[in-house]
Symmetry: C2
Subunit: 223 residues, 2 copies
């Protein structure tokens, strides 16, 4: 990269940081926990959100902002669960930016508890963009291999929790959840780790409890 | 993005194109088929190359340039197959660029038949960067889901062939290879499609034959 490119990238990140700070302040003011989900394509972000929608139904209210290069598919899946969802199509860009979230934020109902933001499927670029969330989850599915944290460190370094997904496929794969967790925690000490099978609903209670705990901390901080 | 950012991005792509053209000319002059592999993290690019190394041993000579954000792991795996391999670590960048390949090219033995370039695991950014290859393969693994071509169209549009990997997991997944192929071919008419299980060696003959055919065409074009 040329010096000029680096400067432009820094300017973009600085302006993104300002937009993110405004979103964080607004969400906290409304008592809403913002959660940003990062992963490779096909790691199970949308399926995890569908499962959380079932788990939270009648207890907590959620909304979802979906990020994709193209198509409205993921937002349609979420809406079919009775959850409000907005699709942002980046038209080529490899990540969501805070200003894109800001454009949707006015439409998000005030009375929700959780605002989930499903980022573009990409284990690299989204890690550099704060979206104003209070909690960042990185997903790693068992078919991707337990060697990924060291190869894509920024996503794991920037996350609050690691969700190891597709545990139902573990019998057919060489994936070692303990190795994946240890490698990720070597990058980010104290990283919370949850192992789940969203399609079977296994391990979801632990993750849901973690999210509710974070929501309660956010709200007690307001009190 | 601002107008300035777009201009800088265009300049980068234009200078990449020039570097790629020089690489393509050099590889063709040497009678080497350059093959660029694109996919999400964990779709099985390295495992496919290990399997091709076994299949080609004694018949064709290959070398591999590995791209990763961090770690030398993939190059080590390839070298353990007796295949020369160079690791490029991008240190954060989400794709390989032609100039990175150019820096390694002088070390690549003149007598090889195939130069495989394994790009950074990312279904978005690498699609925009010509690396001087003659053939581009995009991999999609069955656990990622058959809905990915429409969501990440550029990777499929820019590819010559689609390799559906991890076919051994099909019995445990809702993945429909015919749907994935049809969706990809709707984006890129005439896209060649191969379904493989690299760890079982299934479907590799068809792909190997395709690569050898492309090598023969390249060399007959020189004659």
């Amino acid at each position: 990269m040329t010096a000029k490119t680096i400067t432009v990238a820094r300017d973009l990140l600085a302006s993104n940081k300002l937009a993110a700070a405004a979103i964080r302040q607004e969400l906290r003011g409304r008592g809403i926990l913002g959660v940003n989900l990062l992963s490779s394509p096909g790691s199970g972000k949308t399926t995890l959100l569908e499962t959380l929608a079932d788990r939270f139904r009648g207890r907590f209210r959620m909304a979802v902002i979906e990020g994709d290069i193209e198509t409205e598919r993921d937002a349609e899946r979420i809406r079919s669960k009775g959850v409000p969802a907005w699709q942002i199509t980046t038209g080529g860009a490899c990540h969501l930016e805070a200003r894109m979230i800001g454009q949707v934020l006015g439409d998000v109902p005030a009375e929700i508890d959780f605002l989930f933001i499903e980022n573009v499927g990409n284990l690299v670029c989204p890690a550099s963009y704060d979206l104003g969330e209070d909690l960042r989850l990185v997903l790693l599915s068992s078919p991707e291999g337990d060697d990924k944290p060291a190869k894509y460190p920024q996503a794991f370094l920037s996350a609050d929790a690691l969700v190891l997904t597709k545990a139902d496929l573990l019998p057919y794969l060489p994936f070692d959840p303990a190795r994946a967790a240890a490698e990720a925690q070597a990058i980010k000490p104290g990283l919370a780790v949850f192992t789940v099978s969203a399609i079977r609903g296994e391990g979801i209670d632990g993750l849901a409890g973690y999210l509710v705990g974070a929501l309660e901390r956010l709200r007690s901080g307001l009190a």
